[in-house]
């Protein structure tokens, strides 16, 4: 939440924009930094199945796909957070915007299941991340899910780029 909001608040945002790096370098740099922290934290949880492995025999494949799902979902959430942070200089507002966005994307799955197997229902279900994440957790790697997470991530970073760039001409 502080990635861009704090820069604006501390008036260091102008320094960033006038520094000899491009906007997408700034965005990617900030995003990768939070992603690495997240992956580091997620990586620590591998200890749990590793310890369990000593006492029991189980299939590791669904666990790896589950971790892949967690990593992709986390990356998507972080990109939404980066975008929300770029919108405002108040990190509380940024937090509300990102939580609200993610909550709506989660709840929209319910609307999709209400509409059933119609075109609108399928589109709405596809937009929600839960369906894609569920499949990965259950041990299914589907290229459409990977494309979904990749698209969401790229879209959010692109929107962030547009928002950051807009400060130059607003």
């Amino acid at each position: 939440m502080r990635l861009f909001a704090e820069e604006r608040k501390l008036r260091t945002f102008e320094f960033l924009l006038t520094s000899p790096i491009r906007i997408h370098d700034i965005i990617i740099g900030k995003f990768v930094s939070v992603l690495l922290i997240y992956l580091g934290l997620l990586g620590l949880t591998v200890l749990v199945p590793t310890v369990l492995m000593l006492f029991s025999d189980f299939d590791w494949n669904p666990i790896w796909t589950g971790y892949l799902g967690m990593a992709l979902l986390g990356a998507l959430f972080l990109s939404v957070g980066v975008f929300a942070s770029a919108l405002t200089e108040n990190q509380i507002v940024a937090a509300f915007v990102s939580f609200g966005t993610l909550l709506s994307m989660w709840l929209i799955a319910g609307l999709g299941s209400l509409l059933g197997d119609t075109t609108a229902g399928r589109i709405i279900s596809y937009v929600s991340y839960m369906e894609h994440y569920d499949r990965l957790v259950r041990g299914l790697i589907d290229t459409s899910d990977l494309v979904y997470f990749g698209s969401g991530l790229v879209l959010m970073l692109f929107l962030t780029h547009r928002v950051v760039e807009s400060t130059r001409w607003k």
């Binding site: 494949n61 669904p62 609108a120 259950r138 041990g139 790697i141 290229t143 760039e165 807009s166």
Partner: protein, 336 residues
């Protein structure tokens, strides 16, 4: 009232978006969509007419040009992502790493799904807490991925009891397969059951029941009590006819020998209790091997109706013991 003071632009945009949403949700409400879109167009035209100078000044600003440019770039980018996602969902590749290969179907199932002749609707009555929910969901999703002719809908019978009542659902974890007026219900999410139901419901031909007539057998067009049970106009006989999708046909003795209904005959006999049981006739189709030796090649199997269609008789007794006229002899052709 000054027309310039009305936020025509905002009203126009709201109406336009509302019309599009209404069309996507209810395409049959075309009149409402037309009215909304027409009103939106009028509002927007009026807005441009009344605020022409404002619009002109606004469009000349640098921020407007850059903003519009940015907006178009976002739209373009969204369009590209939509196309990529559409293609990815249509031509996805899957790696099933689940422990029990839950998402992988048998080659035979894929063959059945590829050759489905028409659309099939599957309605699953289940709740998320039910044991079969996940299995139904995973398996039917794989089925739907493999065929565009399947549509699957999950219904919670507690939330939509009316729907469950219409389908006669008395237990959850029940899937109803519907196609071309036929209905099959499946209560197990196993692949064997689901694929079997698909095979049965996608058959184009009806079950045929062929009655031997002439040579003192009853005619299927006989009136009154002499009519076969399934041709009587009682609620019971109608129910049986519908349930078994029967297409009755008479066949003369001579035709037997040239092999009418010879292909894919399955033996059965029709049993009916002499006395109505609780006011409802109990009928049963059971496989029968008798008569097989008499017409083995032409018909595959011949089934006889055991006992007459009316009057006192003993179930299982020979046909000739009933009276002067023989009862119908049945050559059954079963579809599956």
């Amino acid at each position: 009232m000054n027309l310039k003071s009305i936020p025509l632009g905002l009203i126009g945009v709201v109406l336009a978006i509302g019309g599009m949403i209404a069309y996507s949700l209810r395409p049959d409400w075309l009149w409402a969509v037309t009215i909304a879109e027409g009103a939106a167009l009028i509002c927007l035209v009026l807005f441009f007419v009344f605020h022409f100078e404002t619009v002109k000044a606004f469009s000349g600003r640098r921020s407007t040009k850059m903003g519009l440019n940015s907006f178009l770039m976002i739209l373009l980018f969204l369009g590209i992502l939509l196309i990529v996602n559409f293609l990815a969902s249509r031509h996805s590749v899957r790696w099933d790493l689940s422990e029990n290969q839950n998402f992988t179907l048998a080659p035979q199932t894929y063959r059945v799904l590829r050759t489905l002749p028409r659309d099939i609707k599957i309605t699953v009555f289940t709740r998320e807490s039910d044991p079969g929910y996940q299995a139904f969901k995973e398996r039917l999703e794989s089925y739907r991925q493999a065929s565009t002719k399947l549509s699957v809908e999950f219904i919670d019978p507690e939330k939509q009891p009316k729907m469950a009542q219409n389908y006669g659902i008395f237990r959850t974890d029940t899937a109803i397969f519907e196609s071309d007026g036929q209905t099959i219900r499946v209560t197990s999410p196993s692949e064997i059951e689901l694929t079997g139901a698909l095979i049965r419901i996608s058959k184009d031909s009806k079950k045929r029941i062929v009655f031997v007539e002439g040579h003192s057998e009853l005619n299927i067009e006989d009136k009154g009590t002499q009519r076969p049970f399934y041709r009587q106009r009682s609620p019971d006989s109608t129910r049986v006819r519908r349930r078994h999708h029967l297409a009755p046909q008479g066949v003369s003795r001579a035709d037997q020998y040239v092999g009418v209904g010879a292909s894919r005959c399955t033996p059965f006999r029709y049993e009916r209790r002499a006395r109505p049981y609780s006011g409802v006739h109990r009928e049963r189709w059971t496989p029968l091997g008798v008569g097989r030796s008499r017409y083995p090649d032409r018909f595959g199997y011949i089934a006889r109706s055991l006992g007459s269609w009316s009057g006192p008789r003993r179930t299982g007794g020979p046909a000739r013991s009933v009276g002067p006229r023989r009862p119908h002899r049945i050559v059954g052709q079963n579809v599956y």
